[in-house]
Symmetry: C2
Subunit: 117 residues, 2 copies
Amino acid sequence: MRGFIQPRLLLLLAKKTSHGYELMEALRAIPGSENLSDPGMMYRTLRQLEEAEVLRSAWDTGGRGPARRVYELTKIGHEHLEVWVAEIRKTRTHLDKFLAEYESIAENRSVKRRKRG
Amino acid sequence: MRGFIQPRLLLLLAKKTSHGYELMEALRAIPGSENLSDPGMMYRTLRQLEEAEVLRSAWDTGGRGPARRVYELTKIGHEHLEVWVAEIRKTRTHLDKFLAEYESIAENRSVKRRKRG
DNA sequence: GACATCTATATGTTAAAGGCCAATAGTAGC
DNA sequence: GCTACTATTGGCCTTTAACATATAGATGTC
């Protein structure tokens, strides 16, 4: 699961506005996304998505603990998410084809082994 | 589809031993793998897989055209392919979950729009 | 035989992504 | 004051990827 942090963040933020630390914990809780939750990557990605106007942020000094930068999806952000979804659907069908191919040759190999044995 | 060149090469070579140029053309012919067929990446990847004893190569001066370095999967190579397959199956289920989540929130959004509209 | 074309492999350079670790700082409880 | 928890940021280093370029044998053709 590489290069998958962006769509994950966008999907989380599409559900609900949130801040870095909370997003990090959310990623940690998703099986297969644990490795995406590195703080360094996280915050850098968030800033660069904001740069691209995919996200918008504001400081929230209300809650307990230090101030948090709260992110929300922009209209562009929602569009980006849709593009990602289309991309991911394509990827999934490619993976399906790959696995089907593998299974067909794996089948041949085991047939051959049975014949030989 | 990033970082997907290795399993593609391994699967192609599991089907039949082959050389760089042929592998490149095979990748070009697979929808979704066209971008993996850059010669630079190709040959470097092949050499580094050989370094790792996943592949083994020998020069073939027989055919027409310049000599070709023909690669074949080693036992380690077959094992690597199986590891990749397991990995890819996992990735596929993660993608499925992601898409399911997206569809559930997209559904909510359109319901809200209908109620508002 | 000079030239273009196709087949084939290899290298160099640079930019982006990812992994890992450390720094800074506010808040809260003891 | 000390520790623990919450929160954001920055630096460094490696890997991956993208793009361009170099080299060279074989083949066909005029």
